[in-house]
Symmetry: C2
Subunit: 256 residues, 2 copies
């Protein structure tokens, strides 16, 4: 709301402010609606879209999807903000981004949440690590024997791992967390230098597997998590956003 008011260059407080703010909101919505209906008539798809995604999705899955989308609609301006799942959901809530894509379950009832495809998680080690040489599936209880490099609190990956351990009767407090790193890329670097092992989305280690700087092992039972699209319920849906959602859903279907 404040965001839209700032467009007018006005700063207003209290009840009067709220009323003006409400009208301004309606005026801008109408303006957007008008723009969209003009575009519908002319068939033009343009404008700006700000997407936010949690790191794993933003760095390893979105570039290809956005590339295809941009090829189809060259006139749109795309912006991608990267944060952890918690940060992205907060950006959707505060209207900083039009669409969020996150790895963690989202429970906020004011937001529309749509589940996309499943992401597969694996144990990652240095190639010469004891587990990699052994080469069988890894039981969750075995994880506590090794120094473990983990993501920070608020990371979707971290939450999924903690829940998995609890579900498998392993106490997360028994894990030998040796380092906490704020991005999957930094985490991979730490595992490559054999500081510890970790659990990561398989999509993030494709290059390292090719270069043989990391090894992967399956978990037993296996672990996967859904990706979710998150957006505001009340938000006026611009045409370009509809197109992106449809495009993304089709993309997800193809990945299955």
């Amino acid at each position: 709301m404040t965001y839209r008011i700032f467009h007018l260059g006005i700063e207003i407080e209290n009840t009067l402010g709220e009323q003006v703010s409400e009208f301004a909101e309606r005026i801008f919505d109408l303006y957007t609606e008008m723009e969209n209906s003009v575009r519908d008539l002319t068939g033009e798809i343009s404008g700006a879209l700000t997407i936010g995604a949690s790191t794993t999705i933003a760095e390893y899955m979105l570039p290809a999807l956005l590339g295809e989308f941009k090829n189809q609609y060259p006139d749109i301006n795309l912006r991608l903000k990267v944060s952890n799942s918690e940060g992205i959901v907060s950006m959707v809530e505060h209207n900083v981004i039009d669409l969020g894509i996150v790895e963690a379950p989202v429970t906020n009832k004011n937001l529309i949440v749509e589940v996309c495809h499943d992401d597969h998680l694996v144990v990652v080690t240095a190639p010469n690590h004891e587990l990699a040489r052994r080469g069988t599936r890894v039981k969750p209880a075995e994880l506590i024997q090794y120094p473990f490099v983990c993501r920070e609190e608020g990371s979707g990956t971290r939450e999924v791992i903690t829940q998995y351990l609890i579900d498998q009767n392993v106490n997360p407090a028994e894990m030998n967390y040796c380092m906490e790193l704020g991005s999957p890329e930094a985490l991979k670097g730490a595992v490559e230098t054999d500081m510890g092992i970790s659990i990561l989305s398989r999509s993030t280690i494709v290059k390292e597997l090719k270069l043989n700087t990391l090894a992967e092992l399956q978990l037993d039972p296996s672990l996967s998590r859904p990706f979710s699209f998150v957006r505001q319920r009340q938000k006026f849906r611009v045409r370009i956003m509809e197109e992106l959602l449809e495009f993304a859903h089709a993309y997800c279907q193809r990945q299955k």
Copy 2:
């Protein structure tokens, strides 16, 4: 200040609060000093350190450095927060992290800034891009002919590129920015799918050059930037932090 008060579980406001807060600060500093002098006597190096680094440094340079450091001092707990340069400087200011390492120049006079080694930036394209096939050095004025994928405002890399263009008499507004992406990893993905070209730290594309999914071209004149260590002037320096700084400086020297 607030951070230390929270250790006591007390929330205090106004003048009285300020005084208590000052005393609490001094008590905690003395406590830390005591701990350190005990450690000095016993020769033990342990404790927790929270480091923050801008993405390029955190993801491509720090893991190796932190790995060596952790090998030498296995009892310390390391945490690494990742943000852009602007975000990291703000974390140092607000005492969220003990030490920041950033790519952009820092001008805040309340912070101690020490320059480390120089990072080399190159033009990055898809392997089959016109520029890659031509293979000569790239003049800054040539950049405006191609769609350009860039980092967000507040990114150190973006600031350095903008300043370079201005210094070379190229108007940054003439650049054909086609997409704005919030991390170097996402940006590489976009260049790999040939959405545009970009300028990146050479240290971030080592794996892609090996896999031949990206090509690099030198700029003419060349472009580099210093990395800076940033920390609070007033902060009591714990022993483990002294060790890390010394270690990092030695590491930087070796990279030269």
